[in-house]
């Protein structure tokens, strides 16, 4: 698995776990907007993005805590990469 794939896989995992979605990881397709997958209510957005912050040790700005802003898997992965010091992106066991 490439570095980028691994990051996206972890984001998928966090999305499924934090929102208790009953779907398999590979059902979430690359490039698909989060809006297509779930209801974008403010509770869901906060729960998911707070879980992402915990998982990757990054912090989002107030105006970014919105799934309409963070959009989709590649956008979020890119933002996490740019914010993270690097150590958090190594595989967690």
């Amino acid at each position: 698995m490439t570095y980028s794939n691994e990051l996206q896989s972890r984001i998928r995992r966090v999305l499924i776990d934090s929102l208790s979605l009953n779907i398999a990881e590979d059902e979430l397709q690359y490039g698909e907007s989060f809006e297509e997958i779930i209801g974008l209510d403010s509770l869901a957005a906060l729960e998911f993005l707070t879980a992402i912050e915990k998982e990757f040790g990054v912090a989002f700005e107030e105006d970014e805590l919105d799934l309409a802003v963070l959009g989709d898997l590649p956008t979020l992965a890119k933002l996490i990469r740019s914010r993270s010091s690097g150590s958090e992106l190594k595989t967690k066991t």
Partner: protein, 494 residues
């Protein structure tokens, strides 16, 4: 009556700050002036009279507060809508509960453009546009003691919307006298005093947000700091910056703040923390106590009754305990025949309160079932212990409590069943690993239809606010039912 009470508080503390909304800070004297100015605009230019209903599609903002008091001065009614509702939901609601005008703001006005046939543009007031800002502010100074008021004790002041389980939202009208009684009871129970600083982040379309974070603190001379949208970091910043000593929150807010690892000193000034909307898990309350030194007190109430009970500040943290009834509120636990249960026995929780609503608007049949001999049947199952502590153990009603907002399963079922090829659909509330209720849809579709989760989400989005879109979506060939007609497919949180 409400106006007189506010004037009384303002006369006592004219220089005290009543509201802080971002850069806007209003002293009690200012709030009265703006209220007076806006009530003149409402009556002289919009023709709003006693008994007229005005819809509010606004976040927690100073204009909301001022407009509410302006309507109370006229004996007119504030009916707040959930600001997440879409045009389809608003249309449905307005067809049953018409309004004379709607107040909204520039950010939220979108859905109203599709509702010109229901509320004409001239009756839609955008409170933060330039013209309206002048209405609020441009009236000559009127000394506080010269305001002319009418009593309006029995006039309805507020109509909150709540969800039942019949597919129809319900509206609960509350009179001015009931609202004042409710505020006095909670004020006594909690010991609120002038000069306290309360953060109002729970939306005002919710009974807990409206009554406990805004109406009651303002009548008692506190300062209310408004937050439009809950974001954990800015919530913490406001608490610190304004030395907030009273928090009015929900379990969701408590959990999100705890998850962000906010610095423990942030909450050093907090003396009162009232959590409502859903049960606060015991572990979460313990964590707040240990980490922030804050005793989270569960508050139990409803749109129908106002606040029912609050945990005392010095009581031990117990799961499910919702404290003791607030002054003047009578709580009974009864059996199927209506007789009182003994202490410690589980039964139906029924409530009588001077703060109670006048029943559900336009629902005589429902009222005869829900309000019996002056007591409201909450639909909750609970027990009263010998020390007077009320504990809720379950619920009879089928509404889903999503983050403190009641959701009607039948409304969602009705929407999903409109999808071609859907044979039937069952909606239920299930607990996630944080013990919060989330919405699960089990949908029976003919095998010729290749629906996916995305199709269901997209379909729901046309008709339903985001918070009503099911989190768990299961597409099945056949829904197995148990003998009571419930879905027999078990759900285990992951």
């Amino acid at each position: 009556m409400i106006t007189e009470r506010l004037q009384f508080t303002a006369t006592q503390n004219p220089e005290a700050v009543a509201l802080i909304d971002g850069e806007t800070s209003l002293r009690y004297g200012d709030l009265l002036e703006r209220t007076e100015a806006f009530s003149r605009y409402l009556s002289d230019e919009l023709g709003i009279r006693r008994g007229d209903v005005v819809g509010f599609f606004l976040p927690n903002c100073w204009q909301f507060v001022s407009a509410f008091f302006a309507l109370a001065k006229l004996g007119a009614v504030c009916m707040p809508f959930n600001t997440h509702w879409r045009a389809a939901e608003l249309r449905w609601h307005l067809a049953r509960f018409p309004v004379s005008a709607v107040l909204t703001n520039q950010e939220l006005r979108g859905p109203w453009d599709e509702l010109n046939d229901v509320v004409v543009p001239e009756r839609r007031i955008v409170v933060d546009d330039q013209e309206c800002a002048e209405r609020f502010c441009a009236t000559p100074h009127v000394p506080i003691d010269r305001h002319e008021n009418q009593a309006f004790d029995d006039e309805v002041a507020l109509q909150l919307t709540t969800s039942g389980s019949t597919g129809r939202p319900r509206v609960t009208p509350r009179s001015q006298a009931a609202m004042l009684a409710g505020a006095a009871n909670v004020g006594k129970a909690v010991g609120i005093r002038a000069g306290q600083r309360c953060l109002a982040v729970v939306p005002f379309y919710h009974s807990h947000g409206f009554s406990n974070s805004m109406f009651m603190p303002l009548l008692l001379g506190a300062t209310v700091v408004l937050q439009k949208n809950f974001v954990p970091v800015s919530f913490a910043r406001l608490v610190l910056e304004h030395k907030i000593d009273m928090l009015v929150v929900s379990p969701f807010i408590l959990r999100m703040v705890a998850d962000r690892n906010i610095d423990a000193n942030t909450f050093a000034a907090v003396e009162v923390c009232l959590s409502s909307g859903a049960p606060t898990p015991r572990e979460l309350a313990e964590m707040w106590h240990d980490r922030y030194g804050v005793r989270v007190r569960q508050l139990y109430g409803s749109s129908e009754t106002g606040t029912i009970s609050i945990e005392p500040a010095d009581s031990p943290i117990r799961g499910g305990a919702v404290g003791v009834p607030v002054p003047s509120v009578d709580v009974k636990v009864i059996d199927e025949q209506g007789f009182n249960r003994s202490a410690g026995e589980v039964g139906d929780v029924v409530v009588r309160s001077p703060a109670m609503s006048l029943g559900y608007l336009g629902e005589p049949e429902l009222n005869s079932q829900a309000f019996i001999d002056g007591y409201f049947r909450t639909g909750d199952l609970g027990r009263l212990d010998s020390d007077g502590t009320l504990t809720i153990v379950g619920r009879k009603k089928k509404t889903i409590n999503f983050g403190g907002i009641k959701v009607d399963p039948h409304e969602i079922e009705g929407v999903i069943q409109k999808m071609p090829g859907v044979r039937q659909c069952r909606i239920q509330g299930v607990l996630d690993p944080h013990k919060s209720e989330i919405i699960r849809a089990v949908i029976e579709v003919g095998s010729e239809r290749g629906y996916t989760r995305r199709d269901v989400v997209a379909h729901c989005r046309e008709f339903l606010a985001e918070y009503k879109i099911p989190r768990i979506i299961e597409l099945v060939d056949e829904i197995p039912m148990d003998v009571t007609g419930k879905v027999a497919l078990a759900w285990e949180p992951s």
